[in-house]
Amino acid sequence: MAEPLLSIRDLAVEFRTEDGIVHAVDGISYDVFPGETLGIVGESGSGKSVSTMALLGLIPQPPGRIASGTAMFQGKDLLKLSPKELRGFRGDEVAMVFQDPMTSLNPVLKVGYQLAETIKTHYPKEPDDKVKSRVVELLRLVGVPNPDARVNQYPHEFSGGMRQRAMIAMAIANSPSLLIADEPTTALDVTIQAQVLEVLKTVQEETQAATILITHDLGIVAEMCDRVLVMYAGRIVEAGDVLTIFRAPRHPYTVGLLDSLPKLTEDEEWLRPIPGSPPSLINRPSGCAFHPRCFLTQGRPRCREDVPELRDAEGAGHFAACHFSEELAGHQSKFSEPVQAGSGT
């Protein structure tokens, strides 16, 4: 396998609150390889955003604290860099697209100015006219119509989808080798979401950047990602390539998540929800955090006592953190067989 671009080991992030310490991310390790799209899925509070914000030093400290871990990127540990060194990476080698395009653009500055600023911050010697033509080119790349006029407009003159395109343009301005997209389409309507996802795909092809796509929408994962990490209560519970995860999940949470989704192409009498609700990250259940909601545990004490490690499941590169994942052997999710003609790849 190729050398990973980003290698995270044992990352833990905590937040001090009045009620106690919130273990937002609890010892996760993963690699991102050049050019791939890694999806991180999980519900709100599963730590999927925090784990990537920590890389860019975007965790407010205090109340946050990076309790442990390393994140090796181009031979440097991102977690140990000084703020100044980190600034050199942010927006250049590592860039981020945030969820809400309404609040992440500065309303009093022209869109073109904000894009140029991203380039000028990292390459101050770049001549102005070159930066300007680059900005127009970037906007054209992300599909903003009439980019020559659009550079002189303010964010409020852009629609939601256009703003998100501008955000993507800003993120790829310096051709990053790692692009982090945190719920890039959650605030958008489905037809606009489809447009923005298309743009993300084009941009990836164009820049060959590795992408971490954080989302709660399994459809987007199915559409975009090569590999998936499933997070639950601050830990990775399953990791593997996207086909395997969707067809033959080996962690009961992933199984439950896929089963609870209604299908667009088929009628079902009842949905199969996961019982209970996500745990508090202050008083996380002992052992496996999922055991109170799990159909597999059947009261076995091991689930309550031991924290399961991520270990090999069926298939290469497929890992699941469940003591009894073998019992799911042969399980196929309801997404395993295509509804209509045409079998899998």
């Binding site: 519900e43 709100s44 119509p145 629609s159 939601g160 989808g161 256009m162 309507d189 489905v190 037809t191 606009i192 979401q193 489809a194 447009q195 996802l197 298309e198 709660h216 929408d217 399994l218 459809g219 987007i220 994962v221 199915a222 559409e223 990602c225 996207v242 086909l243 969707f246 067809r247 439950g256 998540l257 609870s260 989704l261 209604p262 299908k263 667009l264 192409t265 009628d267 079902e268 009842w270 949905l271 199969r272 929800p273 996961i274 019982p275 609700s277 996500p278 997404f335 395993s336 295509p338 509804v339 209509q340 003609a341 045409g342 079998s343 899998g344 790849t345």
Partner: protein, 522 residues
Amino acid sequence: MSTNGDGQHDVAALEAGLEGWEARADRLKLLGQRLLSSSVVISAVSLVALFTPWLRVAKVHGIAVGKTLTGTSGAGWYVVIALVVAVVLGAIGYKMRLFLIAAVGALVAFAMAALAIAIAASPKSVHLSLPLGKGPAHGGAVTTAWGLYLTIVTCLVVALAMVAVAVVTRIWDLAEAELDRAEAVLAADKPGLLRIENLVTHFPIKAGLFKRTVGQIHAVDGVDLTVYKGETIGLVGESGCGKTTLSRTILKLVEPTSGRIYFDGRGISRWGRRRMRPVRREMQIVFQDPYASLNPRMTVRDIIGEPLRIAGSYGGDRGRQRVDELLRTVGLSPEHANRFPHEFSGGQRQRIGVARALALNPQVIILDEPVSALDVSIRAQVVNLLESLQRDFGLTYIFVAHDLSVVRHVSDRVAVMYLGKIVEIGDKHQIYDEPAHPYTQALLSAVPIEEPSQRGKRKRIVLEGDVPSPANPPSGCRFRTRCWKAQPICAEEEPALIDRGQGHPAACHFAEIVKPLDLVAS
């Protein structure tokens, strides 16, 4: 519409008459408002004059301007008070639609005018000592004859205005009564539990110093919809398409601009708050955001008990028992009743919202994005709960959502909205498997695939551009600006929502079934 031969003529005539009466009623309503506001201006000028000493004494060419212009200034408090009383009575009468109150207002103004005339006309020998002051002949407070004459004119103007208000109110009231009768007759004939005809809801856009209305947001623009008892109808569309406004207008949380709403044999389009109250008992709503729709300072018992309390059926043990029962119905435990909303998770809060909606045994529940704010693993729980409640209580749902998979799962029929109009409606198989309108096809094809192996195997229709502004919708077909099928006719003629041979109605001149969800072999 009526089917029997006899009723048909009547119904058609009534329907036609309805429009006329409605226009008349609205014109009268506006006229009443104008009359009232001009009377308020006249009285206000008097008041200002009274309280502006320099204006009262200012003289031009020896004439006291203030006194002369306002007339009432010299006459003292009494005229002003009388005018205010008259206008207030007029306003109350207009608002309550009781013309007699407005008539009393007119009488007060007339009495004042009469008094002023009496003073002006009193001969020097008769010493008319009225609280108003003495006439000019006696060197009283009203020192110029012009002032007194203008007092008389002001009083008469206001009095006549109030007479007009009373008359307008009476005719308006009659028009409303006529409308009401017609609606009641028509309502008996309407199919379905809830029927909406040509419903329009516009919101004014106000701008400038005086907040003048400069335009209209066409949030809902001519929607016809019939909801049958016991079914779930899904309303889908992108944000800004008017699905939420439509659902709120049905409940009359937003006043319709025009159009008819019939619910369970009653025509409720023009009903006021008081008359709507018993209707609201039968139509409830569950809101999208379970964090914003529950009062954080109320216990769960108070929240769920509030509808009971308003309906006057909370009294004593009965209410407590009902709340406990409701909590069990939605899968919570009665011990939860004394807790506050912040102690619950999103899914549990939404259950509380559902329990509140169920409290008065409604027939229809409008579910406005009930699961959008919930986590994926919780959504299925709430969806299942809603479905089992529907079976147990025979509820009718209007399910507003943008998540197309959830809508398919819960709905019997689906209506697709675009820019304030329904563009396609049919049972869920027709909409999902055989959509005829290009917008529905684009919407369905934009949903991310369900499984990674389908990647690249679904025909993707990526729409150009954004939804146009509802303040200035395109002419003809509203979807034409983004439609790949658009022809010149689309800009000229608005396509009707009719079946063009696809088995269900679609508002497209070139309706044609395309199956966007089918996989194409690669």
